[in-house]
Amino acid sequence: MTEVWEKVQHPSAGGIDLFVGTVRNHSSGETIDRLEYTSYVPMAEREMAKIETAIRSRWPVYNAVLIHRIGMLNVGEIAVVTAVSSSHRNEAFEACRFAIDAIKLSVPIWKKEFTPAGGIVVSSAEHGSVS
């Protein structure tokens, strides 16, 4: 987080917006205690870079930091961070919101959630396609 802060700062920035996505302890009505993120990393990096480009084309942003962790994470751990610095707070809020929404739509990362007993929680997206 310190590195994120250092990277996003800019002397001309009047506003820095930071979103942190954390692992929560419930999903689809079940208790979970950890999850695993897998990814197609080369394509994920390209998609993240495209999101940064899109942000810069829409808002006057100084620095943008977009990070998503992969591998096994426990409840409460940080999964994703989007941070944006801009002259004013409106652009920072909007760009930061756009970044996390875009990551959730297009970056090839998948989560698998585990119950304390070791069962896998099936998400609603999978329910939809299986029925």
């Binding site: 996505g21 897998t38 080369p42 994703v80 959730k104 990362i109 998948w110 998400s123």
Partner: protein, 82 residues
């Protein structure tokens, strides 16, 4: 060269039980025909057709995107990052 690599990810990788295949493509091969060939081998995959996206060489493509030898085709189920 007529070979392509097909990669599976996330839940579709789990269902099929494999991460990677090698296919020989025909001249009028598309991303869709590659996916359908995989479904013929693994029928459980067909029910994902309404929700998967396909990518060729690290870029999302339409289903009718032409595929040539040397390409890498990825079957991308609904993403769940963030």
């Amino acid at each position: 060269m007529t070979d392509i690599v097909v990669k599976l990810f996330g839940p579709v990788r789990d269902i099929v039980g494999e991460e990677e295949f090698h296919f020989k493509v025909s001249p009028d091969e598309t991303a869709a025909t590659v996916f359908e060939a995989l479904c013929a081998r693994y029928p459980d995959l067909s029910r994902w057709r309404p929700v998967v996206r396909l990518a060729v060489n690290l870029e999302y493509v339409q289903f009718n995107h032409h595929v040539s030898g040397g390409d890498e085709v990825c079957i991308i189920p609904p993403v769940s990052g963030g």
